[in-house]
Symmetry: D2
Subunit: 318 residues, 4 copies
């Protein structure tokens, strides 16, 4: 499944682990301002904010997994299996499919607040892209340097939650997910003092014992807690290199390691790729499970007035 | 398996949960001073400190599970399966079987220090009481109001450990058992403060959250931690009634509940009985799984110069 | 805080731990059929099902904590601090205060299904009983031998949830509470097999290790999990004595022990009383923190056509 | 602190995380066969197996942290603070300082079995290298493709333990460390089945829930469990690239992330470097906290008959 993260340093960073048991053939894709975003129900968007992100390109349309636009607005889709609920088209609503949602928001909005207002009128429809691609059950994190929201389309309708920690994983629904952080409130990145009892001498025999109780497994709830702990305890980094590195280290805390998550029939979920986008500068970094080296693509070194996609296939060899 | 406990209030209290899947037919047994304690290798003890405790009586000898003597010295045997190691008789050692160990120590010693010295010369032999009774693999807690020790006969010989918490359960060996308390040092009986991060608002949504992380299962390690937590955080009680009640409440924290510990073939381990002895006054209290009412027998209301056992069968109906 | 429990054996049992740091002076109170139940907004109920339960009696009205009626319908109120939300009186609704809710339901309904239908029209109002008694923030469990529901009055209105486990504690709201049971699905009352890895030999060194991971602290979430584990793994008991005993043992698994839950200023939350009502026979059993002996009062040995309360003060000495 | 790991694939791999709050200026150092290894008490070793590893070079001597020799024998030193105990020189023993131990063993032994025999006669002395370098309290893992041992110099003498999992972290002593793996025996890399109770429907709402209970903090005990879980559940990898990558991913599971382990005075422990040595081929790979890119140095492309060190400073910029 997946883990998304925001990170404030001298710039604003946004990215995610994409966890799955295979790759569709992802590419870093820049959709310049005049590339036509084709929509199923609504009118196509001919002019829009330029977008950079990871996508699977089908029928020349970028199906973004995570992306940022030139205004610094960022968005990622994460699995929300069993909870996501999409509807048929509804009159008087803006009808958007789940695979159109990222380009629609990033194409039109320049801030989380704009996105929030736009979402008030959106209905997410239950259409698949084509016969080969299933309808993915997703929820979304939308973030800019001012804050983050989580968007969940459930039976009761579209719910928009403030996301005070800037982390998203998968199930359960966001209010239940963030509630459980309360259970970890006494954890600390510092060496604990003995509060068990002053009648027995206890000993911090190792550094790091303040975090005892932090869950180490790969379920969505545990990745949520662990990533939040690492993020919120991270010191403010300086410079692009240190910030990007630290971002990937925090994501690494929630990495899916080959063998640890057996999904049956000799298949394992792994962190197929990890990404980190400098949202202020439109620089998209990523690394893959089989290559630790960080690659980068800069949106602003491309002609953003173009009308054709710029595509950089990710070399996923494993 | 079992849990033993010491407790200091206006008097000194000692007792245990006896956890098993059936009862041999335990009795509260007073061995008065002139009751002959028969030993297999050593000379029988004709005169000794009077003893009160829970025992199975076989061939007119009390096989004590837990007991106290008139000097306030207390001792209990608890399962130590897979770790206990007894030897053949050794010349120049005091050869004592595992079932003689409690009456031998309580018959002769009036303090933990005396017991310690005596144990230096003891060899615990691997004899069974008779054909019907197996050799039990045991370790022991010996305590008086000054302190407690744990005695373990292992391959390397007899080990005597100071027991600073006055609690004993079963496996693993005592140094490993007590070491793990360090892992719970940041637990508390107070409502926790948020030390996870000052960047997120967390909420103690319930009383009792300071203990989050305390293990709740019935394994020996978890019962050790839980009982120690309850004991060390107990306020000093006043009066016999409150002290005895609190003792049983603490033991209740480690109780084996019918159904929670399935040992196979439709059998469950339960807390067959719980005991609490006022070691200063020689009053033995107990209750059983099927009867919450606390019963008591007073040693000092008996003729302690007698040479015959005083026996009070426990009515274990379950 | 508190823990409520239902239990099916040859009869249907219902009860609870009442956890608090002091006692208001509870009494076992029988409200016979013709005792007038006084209501603030609605018409007083002159004739109703007879009720037995634990209550604080104020101005001759029984403020029930937990009770059962002669039809076998049971109900208990538990703290729900920070989440409960009561309203002003609403026209066209049945306006019931939180302290009237138990007698109103038990007085009029003979089954959970009847209660459900009645609740559809109820508005819980924010009135206090008098100047000395605060408005308690509560939620409720209502049960009969067919099943249980949880009733929560929150900002969004009154929510009625099926309660498939028949256990209720306190915060968080019931859907979040029961969701977390999923996190314990691999626990068991049986000795675990090594599934960590077949490349290392691991050892169940103690009985009870299948429960490792069961939380042992006194927070509402942990009490919920622990009580549910004990209840659902309990074998079916036989006879009144064994069933009532087992009920109290299961409640004991969630008991608040003096000292373990420090609420500040030298005050501790304890399990003030535990109750168990045979709902089929109208027999109410209880024990208190300072007295393990189980007491009982039988509704049916009273004149249920009476119009005055039968009151049995609980001797709470602690 | 640190985490060491062995890994069997088509070749044998050995490496470690070096966790500390600063760097002494580590270098990858090849000590060719004729480089004189200077010893304090014993005769200098003039001819020996060639060694490659990470070292701090002082007075032209490589103080190895972890290394492998040309025979495929590997060894790493890890902190063992509070438990390590070194002695004065002892006549009739081979007196070796803690900083000589790695080159002495790797210089002379070609297998774990040879090392075991040699260690029988070794006394580890309490000398510091010089005034500026403290005596480090260490324990060691020694491994070849046949197996691993842990060596601990404690008060009772030098203890050599078989290490069946090929993982080492820090405190507590190895028997206590490995014992606790038993507590995780029911964890699995597979989706759990509901064994909590068949009376309630529970749901694996996320992949990875079989690992629930795996500790996620950075203490030595938790890193030991987590690393062992990831290693033992890793499928057999193929080819040098996949094997080295997988090795670093497993080590990454125990990585110390900047901010998560606050050691006071604004200092944090981090994983300064991670290493992976192909012990069959003498290839040493490493990456650092501030550079994810994997670097490599091949021993066999150097003149191993040389008598001078080959040194490759690690560019630690953070």
């Amino acid at each position: 499944m997946c883990t998304a993260l925001t990170f404030d340093a001298e710039n604003f960073y946004f990215g995610r682990n994409f966890d799955y048991h295979f790759s569709y053939g992802e590419e870093v894709v820049i959709a310049p301002r005049n590339f036509p975003l084709v929509l199923r129900t609504e009118k196509d968007i001919i002019n829009h904010h330029a977008i950079i992100g990871m996508a699977y390109v089908a029928e020349n349309q970028p199906l973004y997994y995570d992306a940022a636009n030139e205004k610094g607005l960022c968005m990622a889709a994460l699995n929300f299996v069993g909870n996501a609920h999409y509807n048929k088209r509804i009159k008087d609503k803006i009808n958007i499919t789940h695979f159109e949602f990222i380009p629609f928001i990033l194409g039109r909005c320049s801030s989380v607040n704009e996105a929030k207002r736009l979402i008030e009128n959106i209905n997410i429809t239950d259409e698949s892209f084509n016969d080969k691609l299933p309808v993915s059950q997703l929820h979304w994190i939308i973030a800019d340097k001012e804050g983050s929201i989580t968007v969940e389309a459930v039976k009761e309708g579209i719910k928009v939650y403030d996301n005070p920690v800037g982390v998203l994983t998968n199930n359960p629904s966001f209010p239940t997910q963030i509630f459980q952080l309360n259970n970890y409130m006494r954890l600390s990145n510092k060496t604990p003092k003995n509060t068990f009892s002053d009648k027995v001498k206890l000993n911090a025999y190792s550094l790091g014992m303040g975090g005892l109780g932090l869950p180490g497994d790969l379920s969505s709830t545990s990745r949520f807690v662990r990533t939040t702990f690492a993020k919120l305890n991270s010191p403010k980094t300086k410079g692009e290199k240190q910030s990007v590195n630290q971002f990937f280290h925090i994501l690494g805390f929630a990495e899916q390691i080959l063998g640890c998550n057996d999904i049956g029939e000799d298949e394992f979920e792994i962190t197929v790729y990890s990404s980190c986008c400098n949202a202020d500068k439109g620089i998209y970094y990523y690394k893959t499970y089989d290559d630790f080296t960080i690659r980068k693509i800069e949106m602003n070194s491309h002609n953003l007035e173009s009308s054709t996609l710029f595509r950089y296939p990710v070399n996923l060899v494993y």
